[in-house]
């Protein structure tokens, strides 16, 4: 996977002021799962997204803590109340401390 870390965000084209919209965020990531050998878990530094922070207009909307049992290329859809035109930002952090960010502009009418 050469494009690890690519973040894609999907938001509606325009949102009515005060209504609730949803952002779908996806990161290309292996989200490694724990390997087992002889019935025991193998200890190594598994690489998986373990923290996702969603902010809208700089304010925190959601903080997600995935485990290794979230699918490869983790995707999450979360809601936000649209109040003003501005950016929604999603930051994925993996267990190796690497951050992947995506931003989308929310147009409020």
């Amino acid at each position: 996977m050469t494009d690890i870390g690519t973040v894609k965000l999907a938001v509606p084209g325009s949102v009515r002021r005060g209504s609730v919209a949803r952002v779908r965020a996806l990161v290309i990531h292996p989200q490694e799962r724990v390997e087992r050998q002889g019935g025991r878990s193998v200890d190594r530094n598994y690489r998986f997204v373990n923290r996702i922070v969603v902010t809208y207009l700089g304010r925190e909307v959601a903080v997600i803590e995935p485990s290794t049992s979230v699918s490869e290329n983790p995707t999450f859809t979360v809601p936000f109340r649209a109040t003003e035109t501005g950016p929604i930002k999603v930051t994925f952090t993996d267990s190796h401390g690497v951050k992947f960010e995506g931003t989308a502009e929310v147009k409020v009418t």
């Binding site: 949803r22 530094n45 809208y56 995935p66 049992s69 699918s71 979360v78 809601p79 936000f80 190796h96």
Partner: protein, 161 residues
């Protein structure tokens, strides 16, 4: 012949191990070690670890779980959860926990929400190790807990860990 590892020595080593674990020996870039993951345990142990002895009410009328009845591929099972809540600062859902009963580490994901979300909703894809119930626990801002559950049949296991 006596064992070279006495009970006292073993207890000392175990205590040292616990102290090191509590001190988070791994830097931020090395959080993927088993010591930093949830332990392999039963769903009952996970529930106890997460919620202690707090009462959990039946949330079947409050929590809706949208999942396929039969999941062909356990490696990616879509789930959408919605909890009825006004999502005001006074009354909102502050966290949604998704737990798969048959996974070796049952907690799939914890979603923390703020009133700015406007709605208590989340959708994602889960890894499921086997057929069984998927539980959703909603935690209100005041700490009250509700639970709902959905049975899913998994055709090909997702080898969830």
């Amino acid at each position: 012949m006596t064992s070279p590892l006495t009970r006292r020595a073993w207890l000392g080593a175990a205590a040292l191990g616990a102290a090191v674990a509590a001190g988070r020996p791994w830097p931020a870039r090395a959080q993927g070690h088993l010591a930093n993951l949830a332990p392999e345990e039963s769903i009952a142990e996970t529930m106890k670890r997460l919620f202690g002895g707090r009462p959990i009410k039946d949330g079947a009328g409050l929590i809706s779980i949208d999942m396929p009845l039969i999941a062909e591929d356990g490696a990616a099972v879509p789930i959408a959860v919605e909890v009825k809540s006004p999502m005001t600062p006074e009354s909102h859902v502050k966290a949604i926990y998704i737990l798969a009963e048959k996974n070796p580490r049952p907690l799939n994901v914890k979603i923390g929400l703020t009133p700015a979300a406007g709605q208590a909703y989340v959708a994602t894809n889960l890894r499921l190790a086997d057929s069984g119930p998927v539980r959703v626990v909603a935690e209100a801002g005041d700490g009250a807990l509700w639970i709902a559950s959905r049975d899913v049949r998994v055709t090909v296991a997702g080898c969830a860990a």
